[in-house]
Symmetry: C2
Subunit: 144 residues, 2 copies
DNA sequence: TTAATTTCGGATAAATTTGTCCGAAATAAA
DNA sequence: TTTATTTCGGACAAATTTATCCGAAATTAA
């Protein structure tokens, strides 16, 4: 479904969101520990997310990563996935055909309409505030 | 969503099904041409499908691959996907957690229930007879 | 029986994804 | 200003996925 890189990216974003709700900024090391990911590789992914303005990065002592608290309800998981894996999951042909549309559909085209709709609806409506709240209440976990 | 290997596997299976409906057996070369895939790599995938009893392979002159016509309605796309990509798409955690369940769910766990249900329902109910018919009627295509 | 055809299966190679290393740049605090 | 800390970014390396090559085995037909 998602690339490994993307799962790291989602988990990192959610951890930053969790701490953002508590007005805390987190470092690369803290993130990698919290989500159980390779440190240097996680740094690369965070750079991408920062460039896409999904998170903010601050250099220097006391630096780290954060998300403006007020932005939490406006950022969706779909945005994170698109930033890392692109939008092929949401728009590409399930069988990888370059040209696949109503006029010349692949054999799975019609079947995938409902799956895609569900994916879009679910990931576009899951915002960081909601998910961060679940994490802070201990209802959900980021590793194991 | 699916690995590239899996898209080849699905397309190959559908092409064999299409010809099975016409009582025709097809060769590796014909399959690779029909679905626009690398010949030798396709051979490997067909071996897997044959071992999983999704298709039959016949060696020697006039040999090739086929599916018993009577089996077409009993084989689903889900079976093909499971044979090649395993069942992580249907059962694994979306964020890759080893342990992710109702007691200790990942932050996406609840959101993914509906997506997973839709995937299961759609892929488990799409059988080869139906899809082969669409192909033979020229309603759908396997390449481009 | 021989020759031709086709899949099987193992070794190997290329491409992509995942992961590491390390110096550079920025910045906070002494 | 200097030092310590933290992210940035480029080069490199390992692991995995995708793809190729080729002889072996099976089978059909001459």
């Amino acid at each position: 479904m998602f690339s490994k890189t993307c799962t790291y990216g989602i988990k990192a974003t959610l951890f930053i969101a969790q701490k953002a709700q508590l007005d805390e900024r987190v470092s690369l090391k803290e993130i990698a520990t919290a989500i159980d990911s390779p440190v240097a590789f996680t740094a690369k992914i965070l750079q991408v997310l920062a460039k896409e303005h999904i998170i903010n990065s601050i250099k220097g002592p006391k630096g780290g990563f954060e998300i403006a608290k007020a932005q939490l309800p406006n950022i969706t998981i779909k945005q994170v996935v698109k930033a890392i894996d692109g939008d092929s999951l949401f728009n590409g042909c399930a069988l990888g055909l370059q040209e696949c549309n109503e006029k010349a559909p692949c054999p799975m085209h019609d079947n995938f309409v409902s799956i895609r709709d569900q994916l879009n609806e679910t990931l576009a409506s899951s915002n960081l505030l909601q998910v961060a709240a679940d994490l802070n209440q201990g209802r959900t976990v980021l590793k194991r």
